[in-house]
Symmetry: C4
Subunit: 123 residues, 4 copies
């Protein structure tokens, strides 16, 4: 398939609640960036996480050709985990077009709550 998307994306909202009523991976509170690489070339992505009161932190990731990656910010480790209960934003810069959507599952209370939005794209 012809690639679809843009090379720069931003998610202004970001927050991982430290509380979860469940320890099941699917139901632990998580913040996700869903990344679609519909084209025929691997996507090499630089992810920059911005904070309210400290310098940004940079991560590297790849998404294979014709694959999706539902990246949990909770799972980032190198160079450092994203702190919980902390406001952040993120920018994705890819060498090929991708599509990015932001989703949070919040299970601080007995019932889960969801939010999602297509991120801001710059082509």
């Amino acid at each position: 398939m012809q690639a679809i998307g843009c090379k720069r994306w931003a998610i202004a909202e970001g927050y991982i609640p430290s509380q979860s009523v469940s320890t099941e991976r699917a139901l632990v509170s998580h913040e996700t960036a869903c990344i679609l690489n519909a084209g025929d070339h691997e996507a090499n992505i630089t992810l920059t996480v911005f904070y309210a009161d400290r310098e940004p932190v940079i991560y590297r990731l790849t998404v294979k050709a014709r694959r999706t990656l539902h990246l949990r910010f909770n799972d980032l480790e190198d160079p450092a985990p994203v702190p919980l209960d902390t406001d952040f934003s993120s920018v994705f810069e890819s060498d090929v077009p991708i599509v990015v959507q932001h989703t949070r599952l919040d299970s601080r209370r007995a019932e889960i709550s969801l939010l999602s939005t297509t991120a801001y794209a710059e082509c």
Copy 2:
């Protein structure tokens, strides 16, 4: 009405929970692509579903002129159903302009939770 929308749309997020507290169709956990074809010509659409670790799968659908279709990914059957509890993304390619919005109703717990976003458009 003059047609509105674009011919290529992407939804980077996709996930159908296998659990539901209700068996009533309106309240079963579902993942939906709402497709508006406001123009005067039928829309012939190719839907490609992308996964994290296998090749994409292609579906065909049509939306009549001046009609909306709220397509549940749960209902796709040919060539194969979309697996539950599995991350996916989707791309819609139409021969006329359409508008696509992504909605999930999650009823894994006693209360329902909703998310929705206008999909990413490429005109």
Copy 3:
């Protein structure tokens, strides 16, 4: 303020649940189009509601200069109310730039659930 927005907007998702646990207006299940008219001229808007299996229905509304209107689809009456528990889509066509955002409050269960997205804009 200089006007902001576009003259054509589409919301592909639409559904008013017939059930509500509350009769308080703020908590009755409702489907809303929030319309901002930031400019200095009144907005005259044609709203077309599309269905899955019948012809579209047209409504007229106005939003005053420098005002917002949070329009509940539940409140539309002329020429006919929007049926409950029924899939629909909507298109807004204005004579001046406006901004449209779609929000649903669902109170079918004991707890409320929310969704929202900026609508699809065509300038």
Copy 4:
């Protein structure tokens, strides 16, 4: 990093519920504009809040270079707080590119509910 975003943003939806089941700051019902300033210059922002039946109100704020600000409308005070249980819309005008995302946490009931969307951008 090269700046990302636009200088004018609009959020057509706005509503701060007066009720909350919790007095914990993270769980009090709140309406938020998440603002990312990824570039190397401070963002000076004029925020205009629009109402259904009165004139707009103007606020000033700044977001430092390479920082995010998760602004709660609940916290605005000068020249006046945003009234609760009242429909509003907002427009952000910045002197440098920013990205704006709208999020509400609603805790009127025992369980929280979330909505979020990338705001409408005008570059």
